[in-house]
């Protein structure tokens, strides 16, 4: 398995609270991605990073922000969590050379009450 970890693996929080999810890689890959997975929607790209301090929006970026201060860490922040952000969040990495084969982390299950 690619060296990708996500923390926490499970989290329950209340509406309006800030939440930060962490993705950590040991592969030194350039690209990192955050997806959310919901029934009936498959995986949807939230944000991605193509280098330290270089990030861009994906398909469903509203309500989310990201930061990448080191190659190995990519943080996803929900500034004020809402129930619609209840989901399973996956981090992925790719080396960005040619077609982007992605390697996925184990996921974080977030419940917003």
């Amino acid at each position: 398995d690619a060296g990708i970890t996500q923390s926490p693996r499970h989290k329950v929080t209340e509406t309006g609270t800030p939440v930060t999810l962490r993705c950590h890689q040991t592969e030194n890959h350039r690209y990192m991605y955050w997806y959310r997975q919901d029934p009936g929607h498959g995986l949807r790209l939230i944000h991605y990073s193509y280098g330290v301090k270089d990030t861009d929006k994906g398909e469903v970026s509203d309500g989310y922000s990201v930061s990448r201060s080191k190659t190995e860490d990519f943080l996803l922040t929900l500034e004020s969590a809402t129930s619609s952000q209840t989901s399973v969040y996956f981090c992925a990495i790719s080396d960005g050379r040619g077609p982007d084969t992605q390697y996925f982390g184990p996921g974080t299950r977030l419940t917003v009450l």
Binding site: Y35, Y48, P99, D100, Q102, F104
Partner: protein, 110 residues
């Protein structure tokens, strides 16, 4: 906007049978990938096919791509119970960087 539509949404077969699932898309792509997801786990890359390729094989997997019809198919031959999983196509190219299909849930009965 780009969308990936997979069919069928669910497929149930017996061990030893072949499983075929399809992915259709709307706008041109540079490449298409297939991923597998076991229940509660992250996705695992299976195979990639570029837009200038028509067919690729990897073990029991066969992928075809028809760019004129904007569709791809994934064939799993001689299926096993361990193939039970959800399968997703990932579209790359055009103005939207990465788009996943909604997936096909495959159940292989022993």
């Amino acid at each position: 906007s780009q969308q990936g539509e997979e069919d069928p949404q669910a497929l149930s077969i017996q061990e030893g049978e072949n499983a075929t699932m399809n992915c259709s898309y709307k706008t041109s792509i540079n490449n298409l990938q297939w991923y597998r997801q076991n229940s509660g786990r992250g996705l695992v890359h299976l195979i990639l096919i570029r837009s200038n390729e028509r067919e690729k094989h990897s073990g029991r997997l066969r992928v075809t791509l028809d760019t004129s019809k904007k569709s791809s198919s994934l064939l799993i031959t001689a299926s096993r119970a361990a193939d039970t999983a959800s399968y997703f196509c990932l579209l790359q190219g055009g103005s939207e960087k990465l788009v996943f299909g909604k997936g096909t849930k495959l159940t292989v009965n022993p």
